[in-house]
């Protein structure tokens, strides 16, 4: 018996991934990204405190979505991608 695969799909046009070079975790700027849910900010603040014991943190910044239920605006993603090569996302809930 031959069936049609119900999970079949095509990769979207322009879905190729950009290569990223090596990252220096001790020096590169880091973005701490909150999903705007309760406790996400607290998680990220704790993470920043831990990072402070092993690296400089004056270039470790916070950002959050405007709404927990909506995607981050494209301009926010674009701005983050231009400035940072490391982003840590906290999924509070």
């Amino acid at each position: 018996m031959r069936i049609v695969n119900p999970s079949f799909g095509l990769a979207p046009a322009g879905a190729e991934q950009a290569a990223s070079g090596a990252v220096d975790w001790r020096e590169d700027p880091i973005l701490l990204f909150s999903n705007a849910k309760p406790n996400a900010k607290e998680l990220l603040e704790g993470l920043r405190d831990r990072l402070a014991t092993i690296r400089r943190v004056d270039n470790v910044d916070f950002v959050h979505k405007n709404s927990a239920s909506q995607p981050a605006p494209p301009e926010l993603i674009e701005a983050a991608a231009r400035k940072y090569r490391i982003a840590l996302l906290a999924l509070g809930d």
């Binding site: 018996m1 031959r2 069936i3 049609v4 695969n5 119900p6 999970s7 079949f8 799909g9 095509l10 990769a11 979207p12 879905a15 705007a36 309760p38 405007n66 709404s67 927990a68 239920s69 909506q70 995607p71 809930d93």
Partner: protein, 347 residues
């Protein structure tokens, strides 16, 4: 539509019905219930009806792959759809794929929302959709399988697998299937899709990421004002995602409640305005921590009340169901939109 020939054909051998069920469940293709077999011939019968639909589909979240007509049809076959249901399934899919519907958020959330599928216009009767007694319930093939087909598409092509990318804390029975028809014939007002700008002869699918229907019982009120009071107080729930996320909701009036409201002069616009003003929650019914969260998220109280819908127009009102003194409200995910799509005539 993408090239209808694009599909992956799988040779599965000669399986008994029981073996097929076990196989399909092992592949992760099922909602837990047995599935019809998507043979090439069965899929082709659906595809043949929609060959004239040439508008491409965007990728489906969260997996982000572009569906083909045949992979979509395979899911509709598995759900148990008749071929003539397929254009309605495709219209529903186009609705949930609109950016304002926020498909990724509604699938990945911990909230128990499911894609509510409302059908208005001539397709209701052509397909035998239940718009009357027990319209949210069991017993009708079109209602059951159109809603199920959309869910299977989101599972199998979209990748919204429970516990993996579908992170619902408790989920909902509505995630099996949530499709019903508007009872235009017993509505005292213009059909919902006509109020949305479509022609009466159009068949229209409306989708919203909603919870299952919440019943509103009012057997005693004999005036529109009385019924409205019951409805407004039933909707004003402190734990609603509509307070948390602010967004649209749907009020489905039973025909008897609708008739009383219309007899007493209530228009749709007046009902929307009255519910906007009355179906809100006083801050004394909400914990201080939650009030702080709503303020932090940009939804502060208004006159010491928390709103459920951003505007009166975000309250969508229609008639469905049969005899009896019941209505229902359908809360939304909040961060979603009500999207209406015209059903394309079969090729």
């Amino acid at each position: 539509m993408q090239d209808a020939a694009e599909a992956e054909i799988i040779e599965i051998g000669d399986l008994s019905p029981e073996e097929w069920t076990d196989y399909a469940i092992a592949q992760g293709w099922s909602d837990g219930l047995p599935l019809a077999i998507p043979t090439e011939a069965a899929v082709e019968r659906l595809v043949a009806l929609c060959r004239g639909d040439n508008e491409p589909f965007p990728p489906i979240s969260p997996r982000q792959v572009v569906p083909t007509l045949r992979s979509l049809a395979a899911n509709a076959v598995m759900a148990g759809c008749r071929p003539d249901y397929f254009p309605v399934v495709l219209a529903a899919l186009r609705g949930v794929l609109r950016p304002e519907y926020n498909l990724h958020g509604t699938l990945a959330t911990t909230h128990p929302c499911a894609p509510m599928v409302l059908v208005s216009g001539p397709a209701r009767h052509a397909l035998g959709l239940n718009c009357g007694t027990n319209c949210f319930g069991q017993g009708n093939r079109a209602n059951a399988t159109i809603g199920r087909a959309l869910e299977l598409i989101l599972l199998n092509i979209g990748g919204a697998r429970p516990g993996v990318m579908d992170r619902a804390t408790q989920g909902s029975p509505a995630k099996y299937s949530f499709c019903f028809g508007e009872n235009q014939e017993e509505s005292p007002w213009a059909p919902y899709h006509v109020r949305r700008g479509f022609a009466p002869e159009d068949s229209v699918v409306t989708v919203m990421a909603g919870e299952g229907p919440h019943n509103i019982n009012d057997h005693a009120s004999t005036t529109g004002e009385g019924i409205l009071t019951t409805i407004a107080q039933s909707i004003a729930q402190p734990g609603s995602n509509n307070i948390y996320g602010k967004g649209p909701y749907v009020l489905v009036l039973g025909p008897e409640h609708a008739a009383t409201l219309a007899r007493d002069g209530w228009t749709i616009e007046a009902l929307q305005q009255a519910l906007f003003e009355r179906a809100r929650v006083h801050v004394s019914r909400v914990s201080p921590e939650n009030v702080r969260q709503y303020v932090d998220s940009g939804h502060p109280p208004v006159d010491d009340h928390l709103l459920l819908a951003p505007t009166p127009e975000d309250i969508h009102i229609l008639v469905a169901g049969g005899a009896g003194k019941h209505s229902a409200w359908i809360p939304s995910f909040g961060g979603t939109a009500v999207c209406s799509v015209k059903v394309r005539a079969p090729a």
